[in-house]
């Protein structure tokens, strides 16, 4: 099923400038693979070397943070909007 993925500005050089990419996926793991299939390099930005989502990358399905759903196994339905958001943090 097709879902729309909103791409944050710093990743758009990898999508040819597109701010939204449509992929066929049944869950978030499929979205990540679908993004990589269309735009090589995106998976490295989202996942670490073991394939896990990087610790300061957040993914939302509509308004829900996948950490509070089933993480990368979170199921999707046609028309869902997936948003990628950096977790901004720091300190002095």
């Amino acid at each position: 099923m097709a879902v729309r993925v909103q791409i944050p500005a710093p990743l758009r050089p990898l999508t040819g400038g597109a701010d939204t990419v449509e992929v066929e996926a049944k869950d978030i793991a499929g979205v990540i693979d679908g993004l990589e299939g269309k735009h090589k390099g995106l998976k490295d930005r989202l996942c670490d070397q073991t394939g896990n989502l990087r610790s300061y990358v957040r993914i939302f399905v509509n308004d829900e943070d996948i950490r509070f759903l089933q993480e990368k196994s979170t199921a999707l339905k046609a028309g869902d909007t997936v948003a990628i958001v950096p977790a901004i943090a720091g300190g002095c």
Binding site: Q6, P8, A9, P10, L11, R12, D19, D44, R45, L46, C47, D48, R54, S55, Y56, V57, R58, F60, D63, D65, A83, I84, V85, P86, A87, I88, A89, G90, G91, C92
Partner: protein, 144 residues
């Protein structure tokens, strides 16, 4: 990077209000345009050490991302304060930025020191470079 004095004044006021905790926010504009169009306060959800740490609420960040898209803008950067600490990115700032995997590559960061809760330092601007793993100083051009 161009920014209005009113935005810097708003960041300083936010920092004084939040003192002794760190405060944070997002900077909106058009990517590659080199100009901050808006600054928007975010909530610091850090609970363990809010005097020396900050964390933007991801849900609030998502809302800001959506609203900026609707307005034809992008989140081009972030600001945060260092209460009684120098106004430059710390090793913690760099480590957290690297952990975003480049999702903030090229973003503009303002760091402002708030001393004793009353004196705001001259702000410093920085660009985060994921591939070179550092913040490069970025001078301001202040507009009226």
């Amino acid at each position: 990077m161009k920014i209005k004095q009113a935005h810097l004044d708003a960041i300083a006021a936010h920092g004084k209000t939040g003192y002794p905790h760190e405060v944070c926010g997002v900077l909106l504009g058009r990517y590659g345009d080199g100009r901050v169009a808006r600054s928007v306060e975010m909530k610091n959800i850090e609970t363990d050490q809010p005097r020396i740490r900050y964390q933007i609420d991801p849900a609030e960040h998502l809302r800001a991302q959506r609203e900026s898209r609707d307005a034809g803008l992008d989140i081009i950067g972030y600001y945060h304060t260092h209460p009684d600490h120098p106004p430059r990115p710390s090793p913690t700032d760099l480590a957290r930025a690297m952990a975003t995997g480049g999702l903030t590559d090229g973003s503009f960061h303002i760091v402002m020191s708030i001393e004793d809760g009353v004196r705001a330092s001259a702000p410093c601007g920085w660009i985060f470079r994921f591939d070179s793993e550092r913040f490069d100083e970025e001078p301001f051009e202040i507009e009226d």
